[in-house]
């Protein structure tokens, strides 16, 4: 039987400093994981809106052939900054922000292992992000989008060398990501130390929530995969400022080497972005299906396998580079192999729903949307792993569609679901279900309207990163449909922001455990007190609150 401190009311704070400036100061100097988590997610959502606006201009420009909404220079800056922002300033901060907030609560801890390092991580991200956006003010200023980088989010050499990218736009890309990268590694180290050392009594590794397991895998991948990017970026800095020739092909350097180093980071990076989404739905689906996750040990094993295999597939981004048949085959093998543990997880989630009593609250709606869309994304990924087919599809809109299905249809959907799920814990109030349903359906319609046709445009030969296209290629209709999806997605985000705004003030009070869930974060107040738990919890199974609520049939003997 688990002995758990029952939920309690929030005690009054010891000192109350009122006034806006005092409250702002509190947030600025905080080292509390919950506050930092909120700051990460809020900042990430702010960048999400900005990057979404950039994407809207891109889709406006591409809606018809031969359009001239923006010049090619501005377009190239737009897609570069859109991609860079979404990966480094939306995806990363949001997933690590959630982990920041949830991991200590889920393992019954007081905070992360290194609270000051945690704060450092946040501010490194924020300042790095601001540095990237400061680039818009350089050069010609906002006209022509200033000195914003225009080399694509993966910045292939030698386009990034001084000879082909004069001025400082590439340096903004380089330095801002370098700075943000340090913060991300710091946070990952923090999460690993926290998870391995600070679990409450009774919580062996085999009793951790799946969310914590997957964030552990993500943090491990980050520690291994982010430094290679930093290394490549240092090399690029040496090339651009000290006359080195790492990637300068005219002096014997290697353009392909940049690609290898970048993608050695870049591929794990996309798993670093997506696995937290898996982690979120692994908590949401069981609760809203009213069933324990089907096959917990296999889900853990699959997550570990994904973490390991993700480090072995990087050159599948380089099948058209001419690495030779043996290497192409090897990377095809590893890429196809990684689809197995990924597929397994989908089966585990569906099997959890099977035989359940599914309640379609907004978090579950987003989780279901994720299931279908991520299935598509995974299958288009398998298509891309077939190397000769890849030779047609890579660098075309097919790939653009594929990775947006992964990162928007997958990650963003799970993030929205997670926000609806954990918002009550963070704020003490529920988000409106009615607005949530509008948000969901508008986004599903808009997202699919935009990204489904782009698969076909790619198959019709449309390459990516082009600011316009000829009218006689047969791509017009698909691009127009894709652009028509934008207003729906924009409306969805507006509805979401309104929902947040209204619910913060007038949302229904949530109490400790509005969803009747089973993990430790629901065993304390909403919002939790600064120290999280009045007494350190002791657990005896994977679902401590299930044990509390079902003393006649606890989880322990079944595990």
């Amino acid at each position: 039987m688990s002995v758990l401190s029952p939920p309690f009311a929030t005690p009054a704070p010891a000192t109350v400093r009122t006034g806006g400036l005092a409250r702002l100061h509190e947030w600025v100097v905080t080292v509390d994981h919950k506050r930092l988590g909120v700051m990460y997610v809020v900042a990430g959502l702010a960048f999400f809106v900005i990057a979404g606006l950039e994407a809207s201009v891109i889709r406006w420009q591409l809606a018809v052939a031969g359009n001239s909404v923006v010049s090619p220079q501005v377009f190239n800056r737009l897609f570069t900054v859109h991609g860079t922002t979404m990966v480094f300033m939306v995806g990363i901060p949001i997933v690590f922000g959630f982990a920041n907030y949830l991991v200590p609560l889920m393992i019954g801890a007081r905070d992360l292992a290194f609270p000051r390092l945690n704060a450092f991580g946040f501010w490194a991200f924020l300042f790095g992000g601001l540095l990237l956006y400061f680039s818009f003010l350089g050069g010609d200023g906002l006209y022509g989008a200033g000195s914003a980088p225009d080399v694509g989010w993966f910045a292939y050499a030698p386009l990034t060398e001084r000879a082909f990218s004069p001025g400082n736009s590439t340096d903004y890309w380089n330095l801002s990501i370098l700075v943000m990268g340090f913060g991300t590694v710091a946070t990952s180290i923090n999460l690993i130390a926290t998870t391995l050392v600070m679990r409450c009594r009774g919580m062996s590794l085999g009793r951790m929530p799946l969310y914590v397991w997957m964030m552990l895998v993500v943090s491990g991948m980050t520690v291994l995969a982010l430094p290679p990017l930093s290394a490549a970026q240092i090399m690029l800095l040496l090339d651009r400022f000290l006359g080195a020739h790492f990637f300068d092909t005219q002096a014997g350097g290697s353009a392909v080497m940049w690609q290898h180093f970048f993608w050695f980071f870049g591929h794990p990076e996309v798993y670093i972005l997506m696995v937290p989404g898996f982690a979120m739905v692994s908590e949401i689906i069981p609760v809203f299906s009213r069933k324990v996750i089907f096959g917990y040990p296999m889900v853990v094993a699959a997550s570990l396998a994904i973490g390991f295999l993700a480090m072995t597939v990087w050159a599948h981004h380089m099948f058209a580079v001419g690495m030779g048949a043996p290497l192409n085959s090897a990377f095809a093998a590893s890429t196809m192999l990684i689809s197995v543990p990924t597929g397994i997880k989908i089966f585990n989630w569906v099997a959890t729903m099977y035989g359940g009593r599914i309640r379609f609250a907004t978090p579950m709606l987003f989780a279901c949307g994720f299931l279908f869309q991520f299935l598509c994304a995974g299958l288009t990924g398998i298509m891309l792993s077939v190397v000769p087919f890849n030779w047609q599809l890579t660098d075309s809109y097919f790939v653009v569609a594929h990775f947006h299905f992964v990162l928007v249809g997958g990650l963003i959907f799970t993030v929205f679901g997670a926000i609806y799920y954990w918002f009550p814990k963070v704020t003490g109030r529920l988000l409106s279900e009615r607005l949530g349903r509008w948000h969901f359906w508008l986004f599903v319609v808009g997202f699919n309207l935009t990204f489904l046709p782009l698969h076909w445009a790619g198959m019709l030969g449309m390459p990516r990163r082009i600011y316009t296209y000829p009218a006689d290629r047969g791509w017009d209709l698909w691009n127009l449909i894709a652009s028509l999806g934008v207003p729906f997605q924009a409306a969805a985000v507006v509805v979401f922001l309104i929902n947040v705004g209204i619910s913060l003030r007038r949302g229904q009070r949530a109490g400790d455990d509005p969803w009747d869930a089973w993990t430790l974060e629901w065993a304390t107040a909403s919002p939790p007190p600064p120290y999280n738990f009045e007494t350190a919890p002791v657990v005896a199974s994977r679902r401590p609150l299930w044990d509390l609520k079902h003393p006649d049939d606890p989880d322990g003997p079944h595990e």
């Binding site: 694509g152 069933k291 089907f294 096959g295 299958l379 000769p388 079944h558």
Partner: protein, 336 residues
């Protein structure tokens, strides 16, 4: 016509009639690598659709069958913690599928990549530049730009074209979807690919690796000629530049205004190599690698200020005044 070519012609006209003929669809192949890829893609698409139907179907079933009904008593359903047999099965089956898919894929990889060079193959070197394509036929002594001309490769009498890819500056990618998969064009690395187009016609493509401001303006056409027609094209291209006495005044402008620093016109002293070879400029259908049709009016606009047609183009505005410009253009239009 053999059975296969009739089928291909029928496909081109019939089933794919909904795709306008200039659409470079990967499902309208005209050359062996593209055919092989389409064949493989049908297998993959079938597999992927099968998986989608099964998994999505099960998910829909679960959503519909196990949703909470209005009269639900609020009890928790039976908690099922897992099943070793089921989990083993759904690990093994995908793994086997992956093995089969991998073996098939590898077979196609090697078949396409390690194809031996035929003795009678046409050799072409394509050099990617920002933002145009230089096309050289080393054995034939031809240098042209942006339009690749090759002989048809009848399956009964194959004559493939082997293309060597090099870059003068940054990474580009050579992609004509109907003829083959794309191959990157990388500075410091020489890549090779091959095509054997079976049906005469014009096939379009463009650069497929972001290479700077006018990446979108780096279009490609491959014109596939029947045997005799190709021989005629070669002969015409091999000839030195046409010398029309009335246009000599323009040729003097050409020489004096530094055009010769970048451009070659064979048969004249002009032998610059930074820009496209202009010896048979008027034999090309477009200017600026596809951004505008090759008409005297556009040519005039281009020479006056390339950025007016292709913003960001590396050719500087030559700042040639009205009269001189007229003479220059009058000369250029004689370079058939």
């Amino acid at each position: 016509m053999g059975r296969r070519s009739r089928r291909d012609a029928a496909i081109a006209g019939g089933t794919y009639a909904m795709i306008p003929i200039r659409t470079p669809s990967i499902f309208a192949p005209a050359s062996t690598p593209a055919f092989a890829i389409r064949e493989l893609s049908f297998l993959v698409l079938a597999l992927v659709m099968f998986i989608f139907v099964v998994v999505a179907g099960l998910t829909v079933y679960a959503i519909v069958r196990f949703r909470r009904r209005p009269g639900d008593d609020g009890r928790e359903p039976p908690q099922v913690y897992g099943s070793t047999q089921i989990e083993l099965a759904w690990t093994l089956v995908p793994f086997l599928i992956v093995v089969v898919l991998f073996l098939t894929t590898t077979r196609y990889i090697f078949a396409i990549e390690t194809r031996a060079r035929a003795a009678n193959a046409l050799e072409v070197t394509v050099v990617g530049n920002q933002w145009w394509w230089e096309i050289r036929y080393p054995a034939l002594g031809i240098v042209t730009a942006n339009e690749l001309h090759v002989p048809v490769s009848d399956p009964a009498e194959p004559r493939p074209t082997f293309i060597t890819l090099q870059s003068a500056d940054v990474i580009h990618s050579f992609w004509i979807p109907q003829l083959a998969g794309k191959t990157d064009v990388i500075p410091g690395k020489t890549n090779r690919m091959w095509i054997d187009p079976r049906t005469p016609g014009t096939y379009v493509g463009q650069c497929a690796e972001f290479c700077g401001v006018q990446h979108a303006g780096m279009l490609l056409t491959v014109t596939v000629h029947p045997k005799e027609e190709f021989a005629r094209w070669v002969a015409a291209q091999q000839a030195a530049a046409v010398d029309v006495p009335e246009a000599r005044a323009g040729r003097d402008v050409f020489t004096s205004v530094a055009c010769v620093n970048c451009h070659t016109v064979r048969g004249t002293p002009a032998n610059g190599v930074f820009g496209p070879d202009l010896t048979h400029l008027m034999s090309r259908a477009t200017l600026g690698a596809g951004v505008a049709p090759n008409t005297p009016k556009n040519l005039r606009a281009w020479v006056n200020d390339p950025a007016s047609l292709k913003p960001g183009a590396l050719m500087p505005a030559m700042k040639v005044s009205g009269d001189e410009l007229d003479r220059l253009v009058a000369y250029l239009v004689t370079l058939r």
